[in-house]
Amino acid sequence: MAAPCSDRILLDDWHIVADRAVLTEGRPFASRLLGVDLEVTRHGDDADVVCITGGAPVRSQQLYGYIWACLGTPARDIVHLPEAFEDDRHTVTGGSIAVKVSGLRAVENFLDMGHFPFVHTGWLGDEPHTEVQPYNVEITEADEILATDCKFFQPVASPTAKGGMMVDYIYKVIRPYTVALYKSNPLQPGRLDSITLFVQPVDEENCIAHPFLCYIKEGIDEPTIRWFMQLIFAQDKPILENQVPKRLPLDPRAETPIRADAVSVTYRRWLRERAVTYGAIPAAA
């Protein structure tokens, strides 16, 4: 757990280290990224990030209401979310929550529809509607994992839902610790609300989930969006914290998938092929 991160793909990428909303002017906020202790301090519209050991400044910037940091040399920009720039959407930080498990486990849980009836009973699923119908998984030209044609019956799919509905989902793994879902808006069925889960790898067995929501404004306000997001995520939290082992095993024989896990199987293979080891139990050579 104390081993430093050596995955260039993570060190040279941007990660969230704080939601701007929780920062108090001039008062350092303790954060931790890839095992490195940081302090984040807001000064007016700006914020700086320093490494606690030695006090060296860390490269940082702000986007989507968050403070981001890169411990290495950025090899790419922060993930671009086109829907975050559409005027008729609320763009809301959903409330960052610390979870005592590897962030890779949190990503995988976010991709899983099979747990809806059991963990989100009465909201995102209920019995006997437990079947996960077959869906498609592909790796895109942008090197993202895309799961399409996902459908699930949900009693309360969203705060604006008026009763149960069959909901269409699209899932996208954008980076090793970043995953998004797009689901039907109950009032404008042709359009999709999005939730992007930016997971901050605190260390190999701890993470912070930063859900960022882009919801069509019609019929909903920001406190309600946050209420629903936290309601759902806090149901996942104890399940995640009881997963054993806390890191994600990448060996295909380590855990037994079923057909509904097709996207998880792809995710684990994708991580293996991109040499992501931080937060994982690597496959035996």
């Binding site: 930080t93 960052s96 406190p223 759902i232 149901q235 104890p238």
Partner: protein, 215 residues
């Protein structure tokens, strides 16, 4: 109708939702953006509760803060059986008052540890955990001796009271603050009994008891 200023992840708000569900009292919940919006410290909310704390209810012109005080009010007003808060039984009211204060102690220890671990509150988490274990040990012994005497609930009534509801949430959520309950078997059995009270509802992080009562 009762208005509850509510935050989903608050155990103190949950205990009011729980009692109102058990009493069959209808209410309207107004979600307050406690986190990360800190709406409980906003001007409009401080006008309702200058302490800047949840929960608060409004009922029939009365604005009332403090979870334990609200439990007392709701039971005294809306429970015709007078079981949840037996207003005519001084000894029982004394017992209940004692355990409502104990519930405040659970909030300042177990809930504080949970806020530290999950939502980044700057608390002394070791002190909070140690304090919670001390209280859990005391309650566990109290419940264990009660079981030997045929008493199933915190107070010496043959039915649950608001004291049980006041203590329940932050005990159930203690694992989120790094406070395991393996060592408190009487507390665990009592938690299952609370979960089987008619009208029991969950909150995020609290799961229902299995449907069948153990043989």
């Amino acid at each position: 109708m009762i208005t509850l200023y509510d935050y989903e992840l608050s155990g103190n708000c949950y205990k009011l939702r729980l009692l109102m569900s058990m009493l069959g009292v209808k209410y309207k919940a107004v979600p307050v953006d406690f986190y990360p919006g800190r709406e409980h410290k906003s001007e409009w909310f401080l006008a309702i509760n200058p302490l800047g704390q949840l929960p608060v209810i409004e009922d029939d012109g009365l604005i009332l803060r403090d979870a334990q005080a609200i439990l007392v009010y709701l039971a005294a007003r809306y429970d015709p059986s007078k079981k949840w808060y037996p207003v005519d039984d001084p000894k029982m009211l004394g017992e209940i008052g004692q355990w409502l204060a104990f519930a405040d102690g659970i909030t300042s220890t177990s809930s504080a540890a949970r806020l530290h671990d999950g939502l980044f509150y700057d608390f002394d988490v070791d002190a909070a955990r140690a304090g919670a274990h001390r209280l859990f040990r005391i309650l566990d012994e109290h419940l264990w001796f009660g079981e030997q005497e045929g008493r199933e609930w915190i107070c010496s009534a043959p039915h649950p009271t608001v004291a049980d509801i006041a203590c329940f949430p932050y005990i159930m959520l203690s694992e989120e603050g790094g406070i395991p309950r393996q060592d408190y078997s009487a507390i665990r059995r009592w938690c299952d009994r609370v979960k089987r009270i008619d009208g029991f509802v969950v909150m995020s992080g609290v799961f229902p008891a299995s449907p069948a009562r153990a043989a």
